[in-house]
């Protein structure tokens, strides 16, 4: 394409009203022509600037938040599919279930065999606002029916268990009879457990018991250290989600239902999820777990499995 030909097509290319073939030829010419290159860039900037003059039209807030949440979820899933190796077997012996789906931070360069070092921390994705109510709760859960006193008692038991495990592991490490890989793995596990203890034992920890009405005792707890913004969710005795479904955790505030990731409990219904997420001290109203399609949803759509008021 000659300079004259290209020059006569610059406006059409900038407006995206030239054919693909013409546009390609013009861009090829403009990339090497000191006159057409800047001219094309200026025209494209003009076209884009015209777009900024359009009167503001507000997108539906809920749908906008949904789009944002979906985008981040897709991006995160894509990153993790590139970064994360095949998830390792759940650490059932120590009660750490597999973490799947949303919100997990991937460890860079992880193509090594999975170790606990690679267990990922959950960061809740974008808040999602929804304009429809939760799906009807099969057992009509009462979000404000959980007694805090019970939660604190059970918390103590849980903390004791974890502390005891850590002590045993430290002894094993100190004895020096572990191979290096196992030692590394155990050290990582210790670190993780320490974080867990900190999250549960801090002076400003809020505990939310998660229950369904039919269960005699809670099926899980969410611990929120409001100083460090560490979150730890533990479940026990949670039934497996239906085939093709996953559980999804929601932090419920007055303004949003914030997805905190998806998970599948182990065969005994146990899960441990950890996150670091800043939330205003009095913002949390409840924590809920719903059953959602694999991969999770930007806002709750499925039945609420357990819930606890904050």
């Amino acid at each position: 394409m000659s300079h004259e030909e290209a020059s006569s097509e610059l406006a059409a290319v900038a407006l995206d009203s030239a054919s693909a073939e013409v546009a390609e030829s013009v861009r090829a010419h403009a990339s090497v022509c000191p006159e057409c290159g800047p001219e094309l860039a200026a025209m494209e900037a003009t076209v884009a600037a015209l777009g900024e003059l359009v009167p503001t039209t507000k997108m539906n807030l809920g749908r906008g938040a949904g789009i944002r949440s979906r985008l981040i979820m897709r991006a995160r899933n894509e990153r993790e599919s590139h970064a994360a190796p095949t998830p390792g077997p759940p650490d059932l012996a120590r009660g750490v279930a597999s973490l799947t789906g949303l919100g997990h931070k991937a460890t860079p360069g992880a193509q090594r065999p999975v170790s606990l070092e690679q267990k990922r921390v959950v960061t809740p994705p974008a808040p999602t606002r929804r304009h429809v109510a939760f799906e009807p709760v099969p057992r009509r859960l009462n979000w404000y029916a959980i007694a805090a006193t019970v939660a604190f008692v059970i918390t103590g038991v849980q903390l004791f268990r974890v502390t005891r495990e850590n002590s045993a592991m430290r002894s094993e490490l100190a004895s020096g009879d572990t191979g290096q890989p196992k030692s590394d793995s155990m050290a990582s596990l210790l670190t993780e457990k320490d974080a867990m203890i900190t999250a549960m034992a801090g002076s400003d920890v809020k505990v939310v018991a998660l229950a369904d009405k039919s269960a005699p005792q809670p099926l899980g707890r969410m611990f929120w250290n409001r100083v460090t913004n560490d979150w730890m969710m533990v479940t026990y005795g949670l039934p497996a989600p239906k085939p093709g479904k996953t559980y999804q955790v929601w932090l419920v505030t007055d303004k949003a239902k914030i997805s905190a990731g998806t998970f599948r409990p182990d065969s005994q219904g146990r899960t441990v999820m950890h996150a670091n997420y800043a939330l205003a001290r009095d913002a949390l109203k409840a924590v809920a777990i719903t059953e959602e399609p694999e991969g999770g949803m930007p806002s709750p759509t499925g039945p609420m499995v357990v819930v606890g008021s904050a």
Partner: protein, 217 residues
């Protein structure tokens, strides 16, 4: 190009909803900040995608809604546009223009694809009969209006000074995505005349718009 491939990173930035609400209303939207976000997107930092979304969704949605006149389609285009920005973040070249130019160009192109498809399959009117005069209407958000009203006044003044035939070809290309040949057919003018009119119109509008961009960048 800002990068060649997406590398996983550990991101510890909290996403506090209240913080995000603030960013909606107090955004300064400098291009340097946008470029920094694109760099983070190149490093597979999805929170940067969220931040870029917060900064530009309103402008992008307004544009594609204005073109498409359909909220559902406009939302689809917004999502497709930001997803493409994520996927192609490494191809963004700062030397070729602002991030907003890049984003709005992608969005407008996708909206025009839909308009062209409508035209092919449903014989809808060109670009929903949109004109630049429609842009003179005030927006729904008073704060945004304060930001853009002066510019709008200048550009509308420049637009009014355009000869009607130049403005017509620009509108057919801008809102309808018509090729110059299609515009020539529609207006009954020789192709060369259409090309000349389009180029002259673009050149006349460039000055007030480029002044605006210099200020905001």
């Amino acid at each position: 190009m800002l990068g060649s491939e997406k590398n996983p990173v550990v991101d510890s930035r909290p996403m506090n909803p209240s913080e995000r609400e603030v960013s909606y209303s107090s955004q300064t939207r400098s291009n340097a900040d946008d470029v920094a976000l694109i760099r983070r997107m190149c490093d597979a930092d999805e929170t940067a995608l969220g931040a870029l979304y917060d900064r530009w969704v309103r402008s992008l949605y307004s544009l594609v809604f204005h073109l498409l006149q359909d909220a559902d389609e406009a939302e689809d285009v917004v999502e497709e546009t930001f997803w493409q920005a994520w996927k192609k973040s490494s191809t963004y070249e700062p030397s070729k223009g602002a991030v907003s130019t890049w984003l709005l160009t992608i969005g407008r192109r996708k909206a025009l694809d839909r308009i062209r498809a409508r035209r092919r399959y449903r014989e809808d009117p060109v670009g929903g009969d949109r004109t630049f005069a429609d842009m003179a209407a005030p927006g729904l958000d008073p704060s945004e209006e304060t930001e853009g009203s002066e510019l709008r006044t200048h550009v509308m003044a420049a637009m009014k000074e355009l000869p009607a035939e130049q403005r017509e070809v620009l509108e057919l290309g801008y809102f309808g995505g018509l090729s110059q040949t299609e515009i020539a057919d529609r207006t009954g003018q020789p192709l060369g005349t259409v090309k000349t009119r389009m180029r002259l119109a673009m050149q006349k509008l460039r000055e007030p718009l480029s002044m605006h961009r210099r200020v905001t960048e």
